[in-house]
């Protein structure tokens, strides 16, 4: 069959398909028009795949092959398009998927926590031993801001009102979740970026804590950080774990290409990153609306302690299959 005959025979199909694709691409993805043409879309799509193969085989012109190629490409993007995950997958993720994924990469999380705690303890010890060392790590102005912020004589709640809480909530979301995402991305450079951020944050926390203990301001500080620290520090450590995992997949890909190992690592780390996002959201909420409240230290320590136990228990226990007897 000559090309012109072939075109004359099928041109109306192609035209229809192109019109239909224009319509499908114009509407938002959720609102699919209930049109007969949409119902037999797969058949039309397969027919054009077939015609495309024929066109190549018979040596028809590049323009025709390109046109069919473009229809197939667009059709494929409609046929396999993304559907909005409803509440189901999200609940699955929070109840089981996230803690499972965390345990599955336990070694990386421990490594990340190790780096964080190592630099925290190191710097804390250094600052306790030589108090002036804090000025080697933080500049003078941030030290004095820190001191006045956690001064037991002044009260945090005094000069804060509701609008400050909202501002701080926004700030914590913007800053902390950004840090977690950057830690993850930093892992792409053979894990060095993630290591650096973990080391830096651990050291920073150690310096602040050590210094505030030195100047006897520790109680306002610890009562402030203990509650939101539970989700926040955990989440940062987990993001570091994901980053290290990415990095290690490039350093030691095993029996795969580095690229394939990286893709796998990124895909498997994603449930953890989703969970990190929710943990940090919770942390920002607690940090903005609960942590600055002026309450007896005992209350704040017990609430904070409960949160720590809760977060760790959630990560360690949720989503385990307990066997038939405890099936939930």
């Amino acid at each position: 069959m000559k090309q012109r005959q072939f075109e004359a025979l099928n041109a109306s199909q192609w035209q229809d398909m192109e019109t239909l694709l224009d319509q499908l691409e114009a509407v938002r993805q959720q609102a699919v028009p209930d049109h007969p043409a949409v119902r037999d879309f797969p058949q039309r799509y397969r027919r054009i795949c077939h015609q495309h193969a024929l066109a190549i085989e018979r040596g028809y012109s590049l323009a025709l092959v390109d046109r069919l190629n473009s229809i197939i490409l667009r059709g494929r993007r409609q046929l396999y398009r993304f559907r909005l995950p409803v509440a189901g997958p999200l609940r699955e993720l929070l109840l089981a998927g996230f803690p499972r994924a965390v345990r599955e990469q336990g070694a990386w999380n421990l490594a990340s926590a190790g780096v964080f705690l190592f630099s925290l303890v190191l710097v804390w010890a250094l600052v306790s031993w030589r108090p002036e060392m804090v000025y080697a790590l933080l500049d003078e102005q941030s030290v004095s801001t820190m001191e006045s912020m956690y001064d037991p004589a002044s009260s945090l709640a005094e000069d804060r009102d509701g609008s400050d809480d909202v501002t701080m909530f926004g700030y914590y979301i913007y800053n902390n979740i950004g840090i977690a995402f950057r830690t993850f991305a930093g892992g792409l450079f053979f894990g060095i970026g993630a290591l650096f951020i973990m080391f830096f944050n651990g050291g920073y926390f150690g310096a602040v804590a050590g210094h505030l203990v030195n100047v006897q301001h520790h109680e306002p500080f610890f009562t402030f950080v203990i509650a939101h620290g539970a989700p926040e520090l955990t989440a940062i450590v987990l993001a570091g774990g994901c980053g290290l995992r990415l990095g290690w997949s490039l350093i030691a890909p095993g029996p795969r290409t580095r690229l394939a190992a990286l893709k796998d690592a990124a895909n498997q780390a994603m449930p953890v990153m989703y969970g990190v996002f929710f943990l940090l959201l919770a942390a920002a909420f607690i940090e903005a609306f609960w942590s600055p409240r002026d309450l007896p230290a005992a209350v704040k320590y017990s609430v904070g302690g409960t949160l720590w136990v809760g977060v760790l228990a959630y990560l360690l226990l949720a989503g385990r299959r307990w066997g038939a007897r405890h099936a939930d």
Binding site: R4, Q5, Q29, S61, G170, A185
Partner: protein, 224 residues
């Protein structure tokens, strides 16, 4: 083939050709998206200015959401195209040509920070230069590509030469070459066209060789 086209087979048996987008169109698309985000920030700043007490916090949340999730939102709900990419006729797809998934889109956009390292997307730029498919680091990890959607060659074949049958057994490759000569020859200078036609009919004078080649091409197409 030495061009950047990517050939793959789909489960439907189609041999698809993807054309990965290079740095310039992606840069323009990025600039358009950036301009849109800035416009949103300015509008938001004006609107939020009415609620002074909480505007700072809401603004920060908005910046967070737009900077990290603006591309994710559009890639998932607008067929893999942010407004900038739509303007440029680009789209994000997985390397097997299927539309980008939620995971894929989020991976490639979270890892954007690594591409920005150390300044001005230098890491992503280098990665795109090295990668055969113009992938930045986030694309590599998410297994995604940015492709040109419309490969848009709609040539005019308004050549008026009488068609004539070939005087040799034409194989598929000859046919493709001649038809391409007919369809794309108009973009070349007459001298270059004649030079090419001389390969087909070295024994004829250039003018005749071109007419002869075009006539055979029309015959092969089935023009009457």
């Amino acid at each position: 083939m030495i061009d950047e086209r990517l050939r793959l087979r789909t489960p439907e048996g189609a041999q698809l050709t993807l054309v990965p987008a290079g740095i310039m169109p992606r840069l323009v698309a990025f600039a358009i998206d950036m301009a849109i985000r800035i416009a949103i920030y300015i509008a938001a700043a004006i609107v939020l200015g009415l609620f002074k007490s909480i505007s700072g916090g809401l603004m920060l949340i908005l910046i967070f959401l737009l900077e990290w999730f603006y591309p994710v939102l559009f890639e998932l709900f607008m067929h893999g195209q942010t407004p900038g990419k739509r303007t440029m006729g680009l789209a994000v797809v997985h390397s097997d040509g299927s539309p980008v998934t939620a995971n894929g889109s989020i991976v490639r956009n979270l890892l954007r920070t690594a591409d920005m390292f150390p300044v001005f997307y230098l890491a992503g730029f280098l990665s795109m230069l090295v990668s055969r498919r113009f992938q930045r680091l986030g694309d590599l990890a998410a297994d995604t590509l940015v492709i040109h959607l419309d490969q848009g060659r709609r040539p005019e074949t308004s050549v008026h030469v009488p068609e004539r049958a070939p005087d040799w057994p034409v194989d598929v490759q000859d046919q493709q070459t001649l038809v391409a000569f007919l369809e794309r020859g108009q973009a070349l200078t007459p001298e270059r066209r004649q030079e090419l036609a001389r390969i087909v009919y070295p024994e004829l004078p250039d003018q005749d060789a071109e007419r002869q080649a075009l006539g055979v091409a029309r015959h092969l197409l089935g023009d009457t």
